[in-house]
């Protein structure tokens, strides 16, 4: 297993390299350059100014030269400087935003797991009852709801009409003058709705996976054997069925990392949260290549880690699976 893991980790390096190579070139293929967003259709811009700006941003150099330069910087974990007028270090820009996005996603991932597994088992073990149908219907309903719509409705109800929760943003205006306990509650109040929105679709989707896997597992012969042996149903479900039913779910969890980050784009915009999703969207619109690349590297790294964790999770959940 140690051999396997070290091999996997080493294999991540060329994969990551391949991802950066392809994305760097694809991003640069998109029409428009960072400078265009600053000067396009502005009559006061002379060709000299455009050349000056392009030179300032190194855009006058051929793409492979820029890529190699970028790669060299990456080796020292330097993502370069943003090509927007703020000209800040990409690392700084990402660093101040990444904790928020990761926190929201980890919490919502936790909530998704906590709720979807019992829900899925419930659905699977109560097939045909009215309660099951109702649950299934509701989960389809929440799965189909677009998250931006749900977000706006929740804001309207809890933020505007009831006034229980803040409408958007991360902190209250008087945040600076609060004690640390109050600060915690202030943040929690602001994050309640975003986390809810981020979780609801996931709970619905994952509970479907769990229940269908559970259906498959419960038909297996070893379950039949367990029943024949007279083991109590509760123990069968918990000990024998659930563990096996969760194996495919682990894979899906591992693969869902990029989806969570792209999902952040939507709710971070609606809830005006200064996270990675917002930054990614702005950077794409501004063709801010280094920032986009920086975030892609981090996201792909997280995805690869997610896959690796999923594989490890596999091994723990199913001792038969052995990697060499």
């Amino acid at each position: 297993m140690f051999y396997y893991l070290s091999r996997r980790i080493i294999a991540m390096i060329p994969v990551l390299f391949g991802i950066t190579l392809i994305s760097f070139f694809i991003i640069n293929l998109a029409p428009g350059e960072p400078t265009d967003m600053q000067v396009e259709l502005n009559p006061r811009i002379t060709p000299e100014i455009i050349e000056k700006l392009r030179k300032h941003y190194d855009l006058d150099k051929p793409i492979h030269v820029r890529y190699i330069k970028w790669l060299k910087n990456l080796a020292t974990l330097d993502f370069g400087k943003s090509l927007t007028p703020d000209g800040r270090n990409v690392m700084d820009k990402i660093k101040e935003r990444i904790p928020l996005t990761i926190t929201i996603n980890l919490i919502s991932m936790f909530i998704i797991i906590i709720f979807s597994i019992p829900l899925g088992v419930f659905v699977s073990t109560h097939r045909g009852t009215i309660r099951e149908r109702l649950t299934t219907m509701l989960s389809f309903f929440f799965y189909s709801i677009p998250s931006f719509w749900l977000a706006i409705v929740l804001i309207m109800v809890f933020g505007v009409y009831l006034g229980w929760l803040p409408v958007s943003g991360l902190k209250s205006l008087h945040y600076g003058s609060l004690s640390s306990v109050q600060k915690f509650f202030d943040l929690a109040k602001h994050l309640l709705l975003p986390i809810l929105v981020a979780s609801v679709g996931g709970i619905a989707a994952f509970s479907r996976y769990v229940s269908s896997n559970f259906d498959d597992v419960i038909k297996q012969e070893y379950i039949l054997l367990a029943r024949a042996k007279g083991i109590p149903e509760r123990v069968i479900l918990k000990k024998h069925a659930l563990k096996n039913a969760l194996i495919p779910v682990i894979t899906i969890l591992g693969l869902s990392v990029p989806g969570l980050i792209s999902g952040s784009v939507i709710f971070e915009s609606i809830f005006a949260l200064p996270g990675m999703g917002q930054l990614l969207y702005q950077s794409v619109m501004a063709r801010d290549y280094p920032t986009i690349m920086g975030m892609l590297v981090i996201t792909s790294f997280l995805t690869l880690i997610g896959n690796l964790l999923a594989d490890i999770g596999y091994m723990i959940a199913d001792p038969r699976i052995k990697y060499r």
């Binding site: 998109a30 029409p31 428009g32 265009d36 967003m37 600053q38 000067v39 396009e40 259709l41 502005n42 009559p43 006061r44 811009i45 002379t46 060709p47 100014i49 455009i50 000056k52 700006l53 300032h56 941003y57 927007t84 007028p85 703020d86 000209g87 820009k93 101040e96 935003r97 706006i152 804001i155 309207m156 933020g159 505007v160 006034g163 803040p166 409408v167 958007s168 943003g169 991360l170 902190k171 205006l173 915009s269 609606i270 809830f271 005006a272 949260l273 200064p274 996270g275 917002q278 930054l279 702005q282 063709r287």
Partner: protein
């Protein structure tokens, strides 16, 4: 920044007309503002750089406007008045401007502002190492220098009428920037200016806070502070407004007309509406054979119902455009051919041009070629897409088959507009305060970098535009641009469609908000709240 920037705009902020505001009378209307309270302003985007000439986005300039001053500024009636300059004189030939500075103006760090700062700012902007999109404003300058501590002199290579307005550029402190790489300066993130408000803090992607400047040369502002909150989503912005967490924001026509007519909003907010500094047009590519005949262009102009577009797209919140200025500007000439909706006359013009429907498919032809073309517009601007659809139907009625192609912004500009690969397009321009139209309508701007997308070339217009730039006398200048508008209307290089209203709302507790041709934001630093209504 108070210079005349004219960008193609998606977002129109606070551009105004002395139209009656739709304000509801204040219960306690006679109260005078007192010191205190804060203004919370909603902004769609975060600022990028607070050294204003390094940034071109409106969010940065909104903040910088309150922190810095220029030598001159536009007053509420769009006249140029002194700001840091106590007075200024333009020489008779228009080649020299002398600014007399106010004495005793202090930077936020306590040092005094002098003419050296002005000279330094000029040198910094024109320095080839400074990545600014604004250096083009100063290419005509021959020499700019501090004559003494309070006198700043600018000499031009030739008379250049738009020159004076370019000195609205924010003056930056020499003592903090000299000898440094401006792109590494901490002032980009925590600016030090001379303006009515002092920079306090900036939480990336969240908010920027300013506090009042006790030593401002026009006296301290009533407000204790201004907060710019970043709320990227317009729907969320409206909900924040509804919960009174935002005091000042711009609305979309639907929000303004439908959603903001509830008691909850009208009780708490004053709604304003003014003509924005922008127009939307339907432009022809005059290089295409199809549009070489002016009768075809005129027929299209007559076939389009501008009133219908304003009603359908803007819910009536706009006015018909007849030229490149807005109707409440002194440069606007309303006495031009207006192309009132007249499909019958459009058909007649097309018949005169030799078009008729021989095969009975509803589309006119000439020499076997159908009257068919594609109009391009950009994604993300619903108003333009809807406008295209309305025009499509009207043109069909007179026998013209128009297809619509909606493109992503960067691809649209780079691959189609700049390369002139289009038949027609629907786009908009912002309207500058200075009437100079050279960059868009002069024939020298027809190349790929230029903005004469229509490839419009008229020697008389060229001559007038060149003359207009050199004419300093306002009356003479107005006559020149009146004539240009007449010719443009007759030549129809594009159909001027509409000027939308800017639709801001401001919380009722603020006093001193008065809509003028310059908008309402021009005197934001003078707004205030009576003590009993103060909130923060």
């Amino acid at each position: 920044m108070r210079t005349t920037i004219f960008f193609l705009c998606f977002v129109m902020f606070f551009a105004c007309k002395a139209d009656k505001p739709v304000s509801v009378s204040n219960k306690s209307g006679n109260l005078k503002p007192d010191y205190g309270d804060m203004l919370i302003e909603g902004s769609i985007g975060d600022a990028s750089n607070l050294i204003p000439f390094l940034a071109s986005d409106s969010a940065s300039h909104q903040v910088a406007d309150l922190v810095y001053n220029g030598l001159v500024k536009y007053d509420e009636n769009l006249r140029i008045v002194g700001d840091l300059a106590e007075s200024f004189t333009v020489s008779k030939d228009g080649m020299k401007i002398v600014f007399k500075l106010r004495k005793g103006v202090k930077w936020h760090d306590g040092k005094e502002l002098t003419a050296d700062d002005c000279e330094f700012t000029y040198k910094l902007i024109t320095n080839p190492e400074t990545p600014t999109p604004y250096s083009g404003d100063f290419v005509m300058v021959k020499n700019a220098y501090a004559k003494d501590k309070y006198t700043f002199v600018v000499e031009y290579k030739e008379p250049f009428a738009p020159a004076i307005s370019s000195w609205g550029v924010s003056i930056v402190p020499k003592h903090l920037l000299e000898g440094q790489d401006v792109t590494k300066s901490p002032l980009q993130r925590s600016p030090i200016g001379t303006g009515p408000f002092i920079f306090k803090s900036w939480q990336q992607g969240e908010k920027i806070e300013l506090k009042y400047n006790d030593e401002y040369f026009e006296g301290r502002p009533y407000l204790n502070g201004v907060v710019f909150r970043v709320i990227p989503d317009m729907a969320t912005m409206f909900l924040e407004l509804k919960s009174e967490n935002v005091d000042f924001s711009a609305l979309t026509p639907v929000q303004y007309e439908r959603q903001a007519n509830t008691k909850k909003i009208t009780e708490k907010f004053n709604k304003y509406k003014y003509l924005a500094f922008a127009y939307t047009y339907f432009g022809f590519n005059l290089k295409k054979d199809l549009f070489k005949d002016v009768r075809v262009r005129k027929a299209i102009a007559y076939a389009i119902d501008k009133k219908e577009i304003i009603k359908g797209v803007l819910l009536g919140l706009g006015e018909e455009a007849t030229g490149p200025y807005k109707p409440d500007m002194e440069w606007y000439n309303g006495n031009v051919e207006r192309y009132e909706f007249n499909p019958e006359y459009a058909k007649k013009l097309l018949a005169e041009a030799g078009y008729e429907d021989r095969d009975g498919d509803g589309v006119l032809e000439k020499n076997g070629k159908p009257l068919r073309f594609t109009v391009l517009t950009n994604q993300g601007n619903d108003a333009r897409i809807k406008t295209a659809e309305i025009i499509q139907r009207r043109l069909k009625n007179v026998g013209i088959d128009m297809k619509i192609l909606v493109l992503e912004w960067a691809a649209f500009i780079k691959e189609f507009v700049s390369k002139r690969r289009f038949d027609a397009l629907i786009l908009g321009w912002t309207i500058p305060q200075d009437p100079d139209l050279f960059d868009i309508w002069h024939s020298s701007k027809m190349d790929a970098r230029g903005l004469n997308h229509y490839s419009y070339s008229n020697p008389e217009v060229d001559r007038l535009l060149e003359l207009g730039r050199k004419t300093v006398d306002k009356e003479k200048r107005r006559k020149i641009y009146f004539k240009v508008q007449e010719i443009l209307a007759d030549d129809v290089p594009c159909v001027f469609l509409y000027v939308p209203y800017a639709l801001p709302v401001v919380h009722k507790r603020f006093r001193g908000v008065s809509p003028m041709p310059a908008g309402i934001a021009y005197n934001k630093y003078k707004w205030g709240v009576p003590r009993i209504e103060q909130k923060y």
